[in-house]
Symmetry: C2
């Protein structure tokens, strides 16, 4: 999705082979795909050795894959608390621990979101200065890159004003690194753009985010509304995990519904079928442009380590996109940049700007 | 949108001619359109007499329109509190007062939503048993009618558990009357369908809504998610006004964005243009099917009187749709049915079911 970011070797990614809807074969297909773009990447792949070894061999991935044996699998129905208590033998746990131990820079899993966040919190711990970690995701919109970033997508159903400020800092750092923007525009999601609208908490958050503009290295555009999500007004949309999750699913559901209605229209008559046939090239290009697999990967921000949550139903293309994102973030040293940004911004504010700029522009 | 509901005469609607983006001419064009379907309807039209009289005359509406002179106009930028203090001379105030005084059964305005809700609250007062009134709107989806109903769309940014229960009662009464459903399926919007997810308040609300199923005359399907909004699982979606407003605008924005991408695709090459031409009949039918003007009208629920908020940018077709809805609700005696439902349900619960059924099925 983002082109030309140089990745420095040796980079190691920690990949959970289990827990996705399509099983370990799809994950290893994704690794094989991603390897074409990143030939120097190494993968720690977690799951039952007996199941994974033949899959690795069949794809000739032995030179770039190390299997980390783990017998247990976290299913989509497992409760996060149960996994935290008894999930030590799972591939998910092992995947996160490789980042914790410094064996890999970034972790990727297609598994159960709640469990993945719980295990990540438990094993990686929250970054200093962060009260509530967040899940950030790309949102298709009219920006030149085709995307903006929204957070929190559902790590926590609640967020106080200071959490929203942290989301602004983390989201803009992520936008700088993942979207290559110098000074991302940050907006706070509300029910109107006027100052008198919305919860009291949002007004306080707006003041706090506005005051941290320089130290945070972003431009604060104020309140934005739901219809700004697919627009071009902002690069980072800040909201609590409840609202973000509802908006994400509403947007996905609406887009899917629109696509179904369109398909119905094109198959409704012989003439429309012929029309669809003639326009098929353009429709295919459109489909490729908005293919959700291309932007597969919610990122957990605010932990001591980067974790990417791939869609549970991801196929090889989707897994490869998540690995692509992981490789770019690992290559940029994103975890360290993010930690520096949050630490310096929360430490004092304005004075931090120059010091942090040094760190983030060092590469 | 809904066919064949008999409307008993004499019905009088109170129409705010001012405050919409397209001015009073569009409103009177809408009245002229609606009159074809409802020849016996009478309209109290509020605004400056000198401006309205020629418009009424030009459309030959003198026999069905009575002008109620009001000099002031509430603009889209007026703050609700200011209108509550100094808005007595406005067409909006006059429009609501006609319902308050019993001169009309339902009020319709294209004006400023916040001001309209504030004036409606002040003049009509909350219905007994209602703590927070709500705005309900139709949402395009896969249900047989093509729509479900979502509330609150932004009357209040907050809602406690008992407010959400009231929304379930009001929303299902509205679905019975506006969508002609016997026993609407009610869902509570959350970030997951599992019981352990979401705010504590939502779990309490779910229990309360579940316990009132029989008295409320609805079926409670439990938690629903953002992607259920365009689906076919529910008829009534209950949420707080903050979440509802964000979801509404996200859905609208996404649908618009999808339409723009589609238009781009169809004009990208000569072949695709030809394809669009061949499919134009099917595309036009699709456009008509999802035309937002057809479902123009958010309804304020929980006041002593029915108020319909038409879209600010509504043209004649949009205004006519809002009037159509108003005429149907007036003809059904919706305000009384809703009040009876809320009063009986909040009074005791199970015992109320039979008594209320008598009232609602009396017509």
């Amino acid at each position: 999705m983002i082109s030309g970011v140089p990745v420095s070797a040796p980079l190691v990614l920690s990949i959970d082979a289990m827990g996705g809807d399509r099983g370990p074969a799809a994950v290893l297909d994704g690794i094989a795909l991603a390897r074409r773009k990143y030939p120097d990447l190494h993968f720690l792949v977690h799951g039952p050795e007996a199941e994974l070894a033949p899959l690795v061999k069949a794809r000739r991935l032995k030179s770039c894959v190390t299997i980390r044996h783990a017998t247990g699998v976290v299913t989509m129905h497992d409760k996060p608390a149960a996994v935290m208590r008894g999930g030590k033998d799972t591939s998910m746990w092992s995947t996160i621990d490789a980042v914790r131990d410094g064996a890999a820079q970034v972790a990727v899993s297609c598994g159960n979101t709640g469990a993945l966040m719980a295990v990540s919190m438990l094993r990686l711990r929250k970054m200093p200065g962060v009260n509530r970690p967040a899940i950030a995701a790309f949102w298709p919109c009219k920006n030149p890159s085709g995307f903006n970033i929204m957070l929190d997508m559902g790590a926590d159903v609640k967020a106080e004003a200071r959490d929203l400020l942290t989301y602004a800092l983390m989201g803009s750092s992520y936008a700088r690194n993942a979207l290559g923007l110098d000074r991302p525009r940050v907006g706070l999601l509300n029910v109107g753009t006027e100052e008198h609208k919305g919860h009291a908490e949002l007004k306080i958050a707006a003041e706090m985010i506005g005051a941290m503009e320089t130290a945070g290295g972003y431009e604060f555009v104020g309140f934005v509304e739901g219809n700004d999500l697919p627009g071009s007004r902002v690069d980072v949309i800040v909201t609590d995990g409840f609202t973000g999750n509802v908006a994400l699913k509403t947007g996905e559901g609406t887009a899917k519904f629109a696509g179904e209605l369109m398909r119905e229209a094109f198959t409704s008559s012989l003439l429309s079928k012929l029309g669809a046939l003639l326009a098929s090239g353009a429709l295919k290009r459109l489909k490729a442009k908005i293919d959700p697999r291309r932007v597969n990967g919610g990122v957990f921000l605010g932990l001591n380590g980067t974790v990417i949550k791939s869609h549970g139903g991801a196929d090889a293309t989707g897994v490869a996109a998540a690995i692509d994102l992981a490789a770019r973030l690992a290559g940029l040293g994103f975890a360290e940049r993010l930690a520096a940004r949050v630490a310096l911004a929360s430490a004092n504010g304005q004075d931090a700007a120059s010091a942090e700029a040094g760190i983030e522009n060092a590469k």
